[in-house]
């Protein structure tokens, strides 16, 4: 068991059972319709159970966003791991994805039967169009700081152009633009120093905004 889990347990006052972890994430996974899973996780793990405080939640979100993978799933791994180590992480992730997995398999079966039903088709096109509006908002609000800084705007534009217009394979985009971007923000570089001054406040605001938005 890691130090982090010991700390979390001390904070919680008692050892949280695996069943409770599973059940809590199951609830979050079952009622988070239309995305916004992270906001529901906050509701359950910070507000209700007090397994971690806002600061701890934002720290976990910071790790989740930097790593590949879905934020909500990565968050579940971290919170579960901090509570009960690897079994806790497994219980959390299973709880989170199980309701959605069951529902989507059911929907998928119905969809395959109704493959040529024009009304089903029309409904799903409308849902996808709605998702475009939703995704645009999330992207804009999540990146509202990046969209106002020339260097970041250039990185955003280069990434978008490479993936959407030039169809460059993603691994090349990640390696080339990723290393260039990290180099531009390398310790001691001009952009990094500017950034450092507002870093803490900005990150916090950005995350608050994000959680708020997806609620």
């Amino acid at each position: 068991m890691s130090d982090a889990s010991a700390v979390a347990e001390a904070q919680a006052g008692a050892r949280v059972s695996l069943g409770v972890i599973f059940w809590t994430f199951l609830m979050a996974g079952a009622i988070s319709f239309g995305g916004g899973v992270v906001a529901y996780l906050r509701e359950y793990t910070v507000s209700d159970t007090k397994w971690l405080d806002d600061e701890g939640f934002l720290d976990a979100l910071e790790i989740s966003q930097t790593l590949p993978g879905l934020n909500a799933v990565n968050m579940s791994v971290i919170i579960g791991d901090n509570l009960r180590g690897i079994p806790g992480a497994i219980a959390a992730v299973l709880g989170l994805v199980l309701p959605g997995a069951v529902v989507i398999m059911g929907l998928g079966a119905a969809w395959q039967e109704q493959a040529h039903n024009p009304q089903v088709k029309a409904f799903l096109i409308g849902v996808a169009a709605a998702a475009v509006g939703l995704l645009s908002t999330v992207t804009l609000q999540l990146g509202h700081k990046q969209f106002t800084k020339p260097l970041d705007l250039a990185i955003i534009a280069a990434t978008f152009a490479a993936v959407s217009l030039l169809r460059v394979p993603l691994y090349i985009v990640l390696v080339v633009i990723g290393s260039a971007a990290i180099w531009l923000y390398r310790p001691g570089a001009k952009h990094a120093r500017l950034e450092e001054r507002t870093r803490h406040l900005r990150e916090r605001l950005r995350h608050r905004h994000y959680i708020h938005l997806r609620h």
Binding site: P68, P99, M105, T159, P187, H191
Partner: protein, 180 residues
Amino acid sequence: MAKLLNLAWVFMLLAILAVGGGTAVLPEMQHMTVDQFHWITNSQFRDVYSLGQVAPGPNMLMVLLIGHKMAGAMGALVVGLAFFLPDCILTLVANRLWVRFEGSPWRTAVQHGMAPLAIGLMLAGTFAIARLSIFNLTSLLIAASIFGLLMWRHINPALLVLAGGLTYLLLPHVVHLFPH
């Protein structure tokens, strides 16, 4: 068996490339599953994505349906494990190492550099879904009005997604009631 291995390999690769989350990896997923391997068509990709929007939990659970379409229940299981397990393990390891890099200037450099990259990838993901779903005035209006509504105030996204689907389904009939 070869099919299952192929599914596993592709979705493991997508999992590792999913920097910036599920939306960020959508264009690559579409490219690999539609153009490269012809597992599904573009319109099926759009339908499956929409089903993910309607189901609770992470939207990207829709990958299970691609696996199911290719190789039944076993395909769904393989794709689910391939797409979720690598990132879970990576996060578990990082969670235990992260504190060690606390205050490291390179950790900050990685975060600052990768943030705009992730936003660019999300933009590309949004564009990929837009290309599949916005091809007439109705769909454009749905996307634009939901964008406007959400910028104006906070509304439960699940309701908006359902409203979008119902609008596209019903609008032609409603318009029909009022002939010019």
